[in-house]
Symmetry: D3
């Protein structure tokens, strides 16, 4: 029997760690095959620490960033990580790059997809990646695109948590309990050696989302003891048999 | 073992039929005990047909409206229907009325609650009912309200579909497949003899929400063959173990 | 005396039928010349039924889709239908394509324009078409674009109804009574042989928008007996002599 | 034949002048009978100049404010002006006051109503007045309220311009050309002796709304020469026979 | 010379600690006199721990909650703390209670005010408190309210951080560096013995708002080393001499 | 010591005058060096008066528009004005043009930036310019873009006032008192000979924003006597030491 699958579309090579590391590890543990696509390495805009080193080159930054991302993916147990190397600040995708992403979507046939918030004034690459994920999801559904291939169904697109949520128009509707895999997420976070200033920030986020989880499942009176959480916004409605 | 429960808060005595009849019948069929609270009969504002009859009185309208609502609740298999008789156009709840609703919430201990959209320029009783449902949900969570009683957890509050959705700021995020219980919902609808002009309207709604269900579960390529649906907006985030 | 005119900008060749067929037929009946521009045939993304046939080719799909659209336009009495054949999923317009649309706008000098909603997570071609319609409307107003040509005034841009209204941020402010031309719209709908699953959906929509029309013109007490309607959102304010 | 009618609901006795004086004068000129209801005199919160006078009393302020408002109504040619004297800062309406407003609505049977924006952080009386206008409009539609009286249809509720539009969530969709009656509006404005600091402010508003009128009816290329305008937001959709 | 002043309006007696403790301590240190008004003790709805004790009474809860709040206010160096004891879950203010708050506002003549977010589906007392703060601010500006008293100017109303920001429609526009007074805020937090489960939550919030402060003042490249922060949303525009 | 700096990004060569002329003159007076970038001359779309002259050419329009803009910049005392000549209606920026803007941003190292509103259905060049300003601001922050150059901090991006504010989703949060430099702004406005129809419009705007300034700094009771103002919306939060 084929395993369930999921697909993460990450603008830069570290985004998936902070924002969706728990979901990746948790679903892997549940038997999913999770594929990660890094559209760029974040080599120009998110590697300040490396660039401050004497004699640093773009190639060197890419190599280092790739290594870190592979280590993190490995710590999370991800099935596959692909690097599209499209450049960052700004990230731009032409028709060819879009169709490459469509190919991955169709190969993976994900039950759900993960990407960035739809707005982010601090980082325009992030909403751009989501725009592309959405457009490519649509193309993957088209019977006339590479006829004969299996077309995509209608997987949910979850938007993971941006750095400054309220300024990005992002409103979570789904809290995921990641307590069981927190150690893996923290290990993946620590693979990001160039961004150590964010380790504790995202640990705080996970703890506080755990608190929100407890509040929403149990209200004032306590609730289920989730200690770590991740929050997501769904772009599409759910279809259910029971409320 | 106790059965799961749900609670519907309906501003007027017919609202629950058009907007949540499918959910009531479906969850009843799944073993839920569903309680309906009608805050008013809609006797002044939603009974034009009765008022056009010679010699009509307020008492007569209430009796007729109650009968229709009881018949509909029965057709849906609801566990209980309670009439608070608080008056309509405008509906107003004082402290005593609120605490009466709190009592019902605590007695029912619902897994989820259903009420109106949060805005409705056509009918200010509707959002008022939701405001009350939300406030009473909070009171029911308070350990200091009637100490010793079992406090409420954190049940979801689903907002059911208003008559003119886009003008009411209502955005559905959950589609429920009600195909299996459509006959019951239609039967309940036909209990509303005074509002026959709405029977086909809400049949159309159910068919088109079925189409939306198919779209969201299967995209362009078809999807699960739901023929009738109901749509809901969640007021609170979900807490989940799997996306 | 010149006839009044209107212009419909349709992302794919069938969109104008479901969403604006009534407006096209009604205004034609009132003496307007209505021009339809189909930016693509929807050949890749909206022709699943054709693609499921053995040996289907892109060219074949285009021919079929064109035929259906021409039949529908004819059933509605449209003055002209033009096919830009720009490709779909994704639809993309370069400078040349934009200027081609500007040329049509200036030739038609429409009293009003019709296009899609400004957001649609299910179908990114739709809001893209509107973005283009808006941009080209602006270019058509520029005295320095092809100097000597008659520049455009400030026609309203009405956004027609998307498939899942509430998820597309679309809020209707104008209900059009299409009862008199419903037969023509239904006939045009039935020209769309490849999308028979949508015939009843959009009949339901028309009936329910008729109900909304009656509600907004006559409130609880009844009102004008529109049986079929279409709903629109205006992008620009109206200028009036009387409220 | 009965004349067409309109109804203005003004929180304080001067609001109708600045915000809807043009509409009142223009529709009067067109044969409407326009009735104005001032829910309060604005005696506590909008009469600073009077209160700065030695020995001023509440009664004195009311008398002065009433006189000014009557003069303004007269300058505009209003059919009737009624003072509910409900108090301001804060304005509050109990059931009796609501039913009094319902009575006026039913007597007037307005083709359209005018009131404040739905939000105003500077002045909570303003949105409160609109909330009441909306609720009373609904009650006036109820067949069971004072059975036998003529129930209300579904008149538009236009929201007139607040002092700081963008902070009040107010978005105009209708520009009215008031050039022909500008002299009357300016005369009415000058009746407001206690608020002379606002005369030029609202003259500027009228001129700039005239500019917006020209832009929206004629675009970059000029357009109809409205010199003075008023802007409104519609709360309900329009029902039309032609776009 | 008189000292500058500030006023905090807190729905329940602990809210000011978590949400504005840093601002209170910091401004006190800068020479402000900060007054805190607790509209209720949160005795019914926010004292679960006390209510779980055998034989607990409402009076006992109030005494304990008051003690904790006084200790916290003292730890922060607040100038004054007043308890209105209006009851909670639900909090309700009649005319008399409003005028009592107006009296405090006028006596304090605050340079700025602090209160809750304008929406909170989890806790309807919170937005209600802000609604009251806004209404009473307006009354305090009225020359006709207790003529002869000094009327209020136009102080900013800052909305402090709710527990689940994104679900409360709260969007911060101002980050305050509270590093220098963090010890005092933590000490005040630890006075809230009944809500120990929130101590670390709000420490995490302070650390992460410190990170946001650094991002907004220094971007990707680092910035000013704020270690702890608080975030606020302004309800009114600022008036400035320099951008 | 280096002077403080500011940067204005203007879609067309006249925009900076109407919308930010006061800020330019005021900050220049305070010792800032203000640089203006005009992405286009507005030669096609905003020069109707010139195009109506016999024998007008694109080159002629550019020359005239440049002259007017230089005169206006000079009247305001701007430090530098640069013309990118990228074309208008539509304005489009490729990678090279973006990097040219990044170069200017880095050379200027602005304390704050000014650009257009984020939406404008009347003029799609305006929000496009802001989108570019935001993207280039991000690129200028990237350590990997032209390594060795001084990277940008995190300057505020203020959005200046569009022509029809409420239709552009623009909400001002900052009012600037420009009374002291009004004469300079009016002089700059009068340099725009081709758009004389806008002179009084923007004088009215300045007067009314002065009124808003007085209201927000002094409430009902008067306040600081600003006679002319400009309004801005901040895209990023402020970081402060005192509320």
């Amino acid at each position: 029997m084929t395993k369930p699958t999921a697909l993460v579309v990450s603008a830069h090579s570290a985004d998936f760690v902070w924002r969706a590391g728990g979901a990746i590890a948790l679903h892997t543990q549940k038997g999913y095959e999770v594929t990660i696509v890094c559209l760029s390495y974040g080599e120009r805009g998110e590697s300040a620490k490396l660039w401050k080193q004497e004699g640093c080159t773009l190639e060197h930054v890419k190599v280092e960033r790739k290594k870190e991302a592979e280590n993190a993916a490995s710590a999370l147990g991800a099935h596959d990580i692909q690097f599209f190397d499209l450049g960052d600040y700004p990230l731009e995708m032409d028709r060819e790059a879009k169709f490459r992403l469509v190919d991955v979507i169709r190969q993976v046939q994900p039950r759900f997809m993960l990407s960035h918030s739809q707005d982010d004034p601090y980082n325009t690459d992030h909403p751009y990646a989501t725009k592309m994920a959405l457009e490519c999801r649509m193309i993957a559904q088209a019977w006339g695109h590479n006829p004969g291939e299996k077309v995509l169904g209608a997987p949910q697109l979850y938007l993971f948590e941006p750095h400054q949520t309220e300024r990005c128009g992002w409103k979570p509707d789904t809290f995921l309990d990641i307590t069981d895999v927190w150690d893996k997420k923290r290990a993946a976070i620590e693979c990001m050696e160039g961004q150590e200033h964010l380790w504790d920030f995202y640990t705080n986020v996970a703890e506080n989302r755990g608190n929100h989880f407890r509040r929403n499942s149990g209200g004032q009176a306590g609730g289920r003891p989730a200690r770590y959480g991740e929050a997501y916004q769904s772009l599409f409605p759910r279809t259910v048999d029971e409320l």
